[in-house]
Symmetry: C2
Subunit: 383 residues, 2 copies
Amino acid sequence: MSVTAARGFTAAGVVAGIKESGAPDLALVVNQGPSRAAAGVFTGNRVRAAPVVWSEQVLKGGAVTAVVLNSGGANACTGPLGFQDTHATAERVAAALGHSAGEVAVASTGLIGLRLPMDKLLPGVDRAAAELSPHGGEKAAIAIKTTDTTHKTAVAEGAGWTVGGMAKGAGMLAPGLATMLVVLTTDADVESAALDEALRAATRTTFDRVDSDGCMSTNDTVLLLASGASGVVPEPVAFAEAVRAVCADLARQLVGDAEGASKDIRIEVVNAATEDDAVEVGRSIARNNLLKCALHGEDPNWGRVLSAIGTTSAAFDPDRLDVAINGVWVCRQGSVGEDRALVDMRYREVTITADLSAGDASAVVWTNDLTADYVHENSAYSS
Amino acid sequence: MSVTAARGFTAAGVVAGIKESGAPDLALVVNQGPSRAAAGVFTGNRVRAAPVVWSEQVLKGGAVTAVVLNSGGANACTGPLGFQDTHATAERVAAALGHSAGEVAVASTGLIGLRLPMDKLLPGVDRAAAELSPHGGEKAAIAIKTTDTTHKTAVAEGAGWTVGGMAKGAGMLAPGLATMLVVLTTDADVESAALDEALRAATRTTFDRVDSDGCMSTNDTVLLLASGASGVVPEPVAFAEAVRAVCADLARQLVGDAEGASKDIRIEVVNAATEDDAVEVGRSIARNNLLKCALHGEDPNWGRVLSAIGTTSAAFDPDRLDVAINGVWVCRQGSVGEDRALVDMRYREVTITADLSAGDASAVVWTNDLTADYVHENSAYSS
């Protein structure tokens, strides 16, 4: 499972001491080759953490030997000194592995605006390098957790090759990627341009459509590393589908473990004029705080769905909108439909279907409910 | 005070029985003339309640004799029958006053997707008409409350003329107006085109910059009625300023009484390239749930401010962003600034200043914190 499910990868997860809790906080993933092809997708936020700036540069070379990830500090909004810290981290990994720092990607997650404790982080890199193992994927996945309650891994098998991965999420989940760090690995033999294409296509309909709390992070990073260790050049469509499946699996796990959430809400927008319209409507529903509160209270408040749809620029006629909640069409033709008392709201997963009657495009956006626990978790401590 | 502060207006507020609680729920405001000039601004939501559709049509004539407002039901998403209910309400007012229904504006607020109990509402109109008084402004302001904890009125005096008004708000407060019903009256002698200009200018920088919870209502209505009873044609700039002052006063009261809020947050965006940029940045900060939770917890979490700014398309250089919270510049040049421990967060009002270093435009946007009480108030019952 995780990043060591595919052949040609070793990983480790250690306690560097960055987190005051003493929990694991540093992970290392190393591509043993023979290929080192890689692709990456980064946050759309214009305020970008030092490791994002660094890793984006690394990925331009199309090759990644190692990824070092830390929790316990985002190294965002830390100025030129913060960038030097990222650089020094990559150099330390390179020294430990005997490679170039130019092929070492760095990812960080945690509080914005604090320098990383380099006196702890750098020795942690050495320890992680010493513990690298083809069975280290699970430990690596554990070391990148922040407020995640469980670590998250996924795997998909192809014809003689494998795609595996790990993710951390929990808060600040929004489009243009959530506060997520994701590392995917494969032993398929795929060049970086094809990896990039498969990864962008996959993130566009998975991580990019998770909108737990409307907030976009400064640190989001999704990497895909190919070792080629299987010796198999995969059929492109099957490979793209395997990458998508692993991303979808991890994205669903992120939604299921969002901070303070009690409901996972699947918003299907159907019969839209364009996919862009469907996504815009889905996001608008996903970000409606009043609706998110109502769903928390197990109230199938379709008026708030319509109110959210009405704020978009998507093509629709208000008098032709249909909305179902958990399969019950509570709104028909923009007005009262089936009896809302028929909607069973007891389960964690809730499905909202919005039919725009404007075309044949569709999209699915995931979000969570808004709860007192979310407020508590995000007001009781700095994160 | 309220809508009867200006001469030439009578008002009433009664218990029609629309609300199950037995609280006042129907208000009537009548312009006794000699002028009946009026202007209106309505929700930007494309899903619009029946009374919005009706009143917008009435306002096209530039004359309003009476405004009837009910709480206890929004009459939104109620189809053609809901529109007939609005029409019937206007007709009943017209019959009671001996005027044309074409000059009767209607406003409703409450739950979306439920028909109004017309058997209670229409007799309520008759009772309100019978109780009309030049001292009825306070009762009218009380009758339009929903989850408002207090009624809201304001007044500004000119040279021989007065502008007064009432508002209800509380939830679903957002741009393009909040769930707000506002009626302003003046005894100044101003034609409808000039009223429209003054009202649009005033709402643009007041109600339109209140963004309590990011949700835009289907029912927002702001009306300005001029009786001309003072016989004074006001100096246009002074009149516009009086209208703006009353709107600003009422907008501030809406923020101060937003559902479940414990903080009123004033977001000043300064040195922006354009006013549009300043407003975009202000709104993005206002809608960041993570920041709103942090401020609830009295945590001056400037990283979340930067993260919100970074999602906008405004002109700025991330390395030149300065952010102050309550006057302490906790972020300088996109990185750590003054000690965040210096920020005093004990008071209800919090000021966030974001300096974009990109020009000389500015804007102020108001919002509230995100609290467990907000979640409770909006999940524990349908609204």
